[in-house]
C-alpha cells in the first residue's frame, strides 16, 4: 500500500477529510464542527462521515476485548423505562366516550425531536373522571381529589416550586391549567381545563420535560395520561422517568396508546415554557 494517501475522489477538500477523520476518532470542538458544517456543502460529506464512522466502529470491535460486561439491571430498567416498549399495566375501568374530537394536527416550528417514550401507566377512576397518571407503580388507585390536595400541599410547602401556565399552540383553543413542579422533590402536577377528552384505545396524551442539562434533543418522558369526560379541572401527577436537573419547558403531545417511539410532533396541543 502506498503511504501517500489521497482524499476520496468525492472529497477534494483536504481539510474536510481531516475534520471527518478527527470527528470519527476524537469528536470535534464546537469551532471544528462549525468549520465542518461550512465545508460540508462542497461534497457528499454526510456519506463520507458515515464511512469514517463505520471504519472507527469496526476498529473498536476488532480491537476491543471480545468479552463485554453485562448491562447492569438498573441501567437496563432505566433504558426500558425511558425508551422501552409500551407496558400499560391497567386500563381505566370506565372510559367515557370522547366528548369532542381531539385537537387537529398542530404544525409547529419547534426544532426539537421528541425522543423515545416510556409508557407505563396506572388507571385511576373516580366518579366518571378517569385519569391515567404516568406512575410506573402499577395499578395503585389514587383519588383525583388527593392529587388536587397534594398539589396544593406542594405549593404551600415553602419549597422551591416552578409554576407555569399552559399555552395552547392553537391560539383559538380554550385550554387552561398549569404545571407545578418541585425540582427538589422531583415531583409535580399538571392541571387541565378544556383539554379534549381522549379515547385511550385510540390515543393518549404524553408529557415531555425539557431539561437544560440534557438539551432540546432528549426531553424526559413525563408519562402518558388520559382526560375523560367530566366537568371542572383535571389534575394529573407528573411521573418523570429520570431525574430532571433544570426544567425549562413542558410539552404535551398526542400519541398512540402507551406513547411513541419517536414523536412526529404533529399533534402538540400545549406548551409551558419556564421563564
Amino acid at each position: 500500500m502506498s503511504d501517500t494517501l489521497s482524499p476520496s475522489a468525492e472529497l477534494p477538500n483536504d481539510r474536510l477529510v481531516e475534520l471527518l477523520a478527527d470527528d470519527a476518532v476524537f469528536g470535534l470542538t464546537a469551532d471544528e464542527r462549525h468549520e465542518l458544517d461550512s465545508l460540508s456543502g462542497e461534497a457528499d460529506a454526510e456519506r463520507e462521515a458515515e464511512v469514517f464512522g463505520r471504519a472507527a466502529a469496526a476498529f473498536y470491535l476488532a480491537s476491543a476485548p471480545i468479552e463485554t460486561e453485562t448491562l447492569p439491571p438498573r441501567v437496563r430498567d432505566a433504558v426500558l423505562s425511558r425508551c422501552g416498549p409500551t407496558a400499560p399495566t391497567e386500563e381505566p375501568a370506565d372510559v367515557a366516550a370522547a366528548a369532542r374530537a381531539m385537537p387537529k394536527a398542530t404544525p409547529t416550528d419547534l426544532l426539537w425531536p421528541l425522543a423515545v417514550a416510556a409508557s407505563l401507566m396506572i388507571g385511576v377512576y373516580l366518579g366518571g373522571q378517569s385519569i391515567s397518571g404516568g406512575s410506573a407503580g402499577g395499578g395503585i388507585a389514587v383519588e383525583p381529589a388527593d392529587y388536587a390536595q397534594q398539589r396544593v400541599a406542594l405549593l404551600e410547602s415553602g419549597a422551591p416550586v416552578t409554576q407555569v401556565a399552559w399555552t395552547p399552540t392553537d391560539a383559538d383553543a380554550e385550554i387552561g391549567g398549569d404545571v407545578v413542579w418541585s425540582p427538589v422533590e422531583q415531583r409535580g402536577f399538571m392541571t387541565f381545563s378544556g383539554l379534549a377528552v381522549n379515547d385511550p384505545a385510540v390515543e393518549q396524551y404524553q408529557l415531555w420535560i425539557f431539561d437544560a442539562e440534557r438539551g432540546d434533543t432528549y426531553p424526559v418522558d413525563g408519562g402518558v395520561f388520559d382526560i375523560s369526560a367530566g366537568d371542572g379541572e383535571t389534575v394529573v401527577p407528573i411521573d418523570a422517568k429520570i431525574a430532571v436537573d433544570q426544567a425549562v419547558m413542558f410539552a404535551i403531545t398526542i400519541e398512540r396508546p402507551g406513547g411513541v417511539v419517536v414523536s412526529d410532533r404533529s399533534r402538540l396541543p400545549l406548551l409551558a415554557k419556564v421563564e
Binding site: L5, S8, V25, F26, E50, A58, E67, T70, V79
Partner: protein
C-alpha cells in the same frame, strides 16, 4: 448469521427493543464504561445511545455494515458528543465508582462478524504508530492530550497519526462497503 433487529425496531416491533437490549446492552455498556469517567455519565450515556439507536434504526443498511458495527458507530458518536457537551473531553481514565459489582464479564451478545475479522487484517496494514494511536483513541477512549502524554509524541504528531490511520482504514473499509453494497444491489438485497 443472526437476523438483524434494527429493521424490526424501526417497524415499531416492541419485542425487538428488548431483544436489542439483550444483544447489544453489554456492548454499549462496555463502550460507555471505557469512554466515560464516572458511573453516572456511563449510565446516562447508555440511555442516550439507545434513544439515538431507536431514532436511527431506519438508517441501518445491512448491505453496508454489520448491525454490531452500526450500533457501535451510533454509540461512539453519542458518547463522544455527550462527554464533550457535559464536561469537555474525558481523560478516558476509569475510576472506581464506574465499576458495578453486579456487572460480570460475558461474551458479547453480538456476533464477531466477518467484517470485524477483516478489519483485524486491515489493522495489520496500518503503520505501528497509526495503529497505536487509534487503539488508544478508539479502543480506550483516550483524548489526544492523554495519548500525547502516554506516547511522548507531540500533539500534532498524535493528530497526524490518527488522521493518516483513519484515512487508510476508511479506504479499506469504504472499498469493502462499496463492494458489499454493489453485490447487494446486484442481488436485489439490502435493507432500509
Amino acid at each position: 448469521m443472526t437476523a438483524p433487529l434494527l429493521p424490526r425496531v424501526a417497524a415499531g416491533d416492541p419485542t425487538a427493543v428488548e431483544e436489542c437490549l439483550d444483544r447489544y446492552g453489554g456492548l454499549v455498556w462496555s463502550l460507555a464504561r471505557r469512554y466515560c469517567g464516572v458511573a453516572v455519565d456511563a449510565e446516562d450515556a447508555v440511555q442516550e445511545v439507545f434513544v439515538e439507536l431507536w431514532k436511527s434504526a431506519d438508517r441501518f443498511n445491512e448491505s453496508l455494515a454489520a448491525e454490531s458495527t452500526f450500533v457501535t458507530m451510533i454509540a461512539r458518536r453519542r458518547i463522544i458528543d455527550l462527554l464533550r457537551r457535559r464536561r469537555g473531553p474525558t481523560s478516558g481514565d476509569l475510576v472506581e465508582d464506574i465499576v458495578d459489582p453486579s456487572a460480570t464479564p460475558e461474551m458479547g451478545g453480538y456476533e464477531l462478524t466477518e467484517e470485524v475479522q477483516r478489519v483485524r487484517g486491515f489493522m495489520l496494514q496500518l503503520k505501528d504508530e497509526e495503529r497505536r494511536v487509534l487503539e488508544l483513541a478508539i479502543s480506550e477512549g483516550l483524548t489526544q492530550t492523554k495519548i500525547a502524554e502516554i506516547t511522548g509524541w507531540p500533539l500534532g504528531t498524535v493528530k497526524s497519526h490518527a488522521r493518516r490511520g483513519m484515512m487508510r482504514l476508511r479506504k479499506l473499509v469504504g472499498a469493502e462497503s462499496d463492494d458489499r453494497s454493489a453485490m447487494a444491489t446486484a442481488k436485489g438485497g439490502g435493507t432500509a
